[in-house]
């Protein structure tokens, strides 16, 4: 909008009309100026900043006071937990674990094997295995008599042959008794 447009000239009639004064009405100029000044001050942004800030802080303080005045309630949180079922494997028959008993106290219970007439029972290798496994207690005792079958039957003492007996007596006489 251009303000430089030349306005048409006023005629004498227009000037005579302009000489008339509009009715002043019921204006209260002082009150209007007071209200205008008050509103101009109220509408300043700085004037509204501090009340707004104070109101917001008061609201926060009131909220915290309400929160602190309430008793603490247990916080129950419901969660959905997905549990995956383990894959079912075919059961295997449990294999019995081998039980190994290593005890020397079982020595008295070791039942010495009677001497058998089987020469394999008196073999060095067999005796060595017995001693390694059972100790000295595993040595066979001289059997009192011959056994019959699987039962332990005392056999009558076996007398060495006369020649051997004589020889053994000589050795005892010469070197003393066994230690």
């Amino acid at each position: 909008m251009s303000r430089n447009t030349p306005e048409p000239e006023l005629t004498d009639f227009e000037r005579s009309l302009a000489a008339l004064a509009p009715s002043p009405g019921r204006f209260d100029r002082d009150r209007l100026m007071y209200e205008a000044g008050r509103r101009s001050v109220l509408n300043q942004p700085r004037r509204r900043l501090w009340p707004a800030l104070a109101a917001s802080l008061a609201a926060v303080a009131a909220g915290q006071a309400i929160a602190l005045s309430r008793p603490a309630e247990p916080n129950i949180v419901e969660r959905v937990v997905v549990v995956r079922e383990p894959t079912v494997q075919p059961e295997r028959p449990e294999e019995p674990e081998p039980v190994v008993i290593l005890s020397r106290r079982a020595e008295p219970e070791v039942r010495p094997l009677p001497l058998s007439e089987d020469p394999a029972d008196f073999s060095y290798l067999q005796l060595n295995r017995r001693v390694a496994r059972l100790g000295l207690a595993g040595l066979p005792e001289p059997s009192p008599g011959p056994s019959v079958g699987a039962d332990f039957v005392l056999a009558p003492p076996v007398e060495p042959p006369p020649m051997l007996r004589h020889r053994l007596l000589n050795e005892l006489a010469n070197f003393g008794g066994p230690t």
């Binding site: 447009t5 005629t11 009309l17 008339l20 509009p22």
Partner: protein, 168 residues
């Protein structure tokens, strides 16, 4: 806006604004007061305070008339109130136009012409400012003004005489 500037605008335009708002509503003083209060509440002064005041006063006056539902009734009886539009103590001595006759002649004008005549003669607005206030064009404002002024001249019996430069 500074209080001194508001006071100058008040002294300069308050009466003309009241006359202008009187074209639309029954309580022009309230409309003018509200317009000045809104002006004082602005964080930044408008570029053209006079035009701004007339536009706000016009809108407020029309809103007030619509709210009261009396606009048409007020406009129809405007002629009966025309003798109150001008101060009878001013202008009588000049001997050219009688205030009461001028008020009645002005009240008989159509509201569109009356609005432009009041804004132009007593408000001191240019036609461009009037067009901005009323929402029309400056040529339309000029045409309405010419018609209204001719009607007033005929009714008041004023002769057509020479022109003078615009004092504004």
């Amino acid at each position: 806006m500074e209080p001194e500037r508001i006071a100058r605008l008040l002294d300069r335009h308050a009466a003309a604004l009241a006359l202008y708002a009187r074209q639309f509503c029954d309580a022009p003083e309230d409309v003018v007061q509200e317009a000045f209060l809104r002006l004082s509440g602005l964080n930044r002064a408008p570029d053209d305070p006079a035009s701004w005041l007339f536009r706000v006063a016009r809108n407020l006056a029309i809103d007030a008339a619509r709210a009261a539902g009396r606009r048409r009734r007020h406009e129809s009886r405007a002629a009966t109130l025309g003798d109150e539009w001008f101060d009878p103590a001013v202008g009588v001595g000049s001997g050219e136009v009688d205030p009461e006759e001028a008020g009645r002649a002005l009240a008989d004008l159509p509201v569109e012409q009356r609005e432009v005549v009041v804004a132009r003669i007593w408000g001191g607005l240019t036609f461009e400012q009037i067009a901005e206030v009323s929402g029309g064009s400056s040529s339309t404002a000029h045409r309405l003004y010419a018609r209204g002024l001719e009607t007033l001249r005929q009714r008041l019996g004023a002769p057509c005489r020479g022109t003078r430069r615009n004092p504004n």
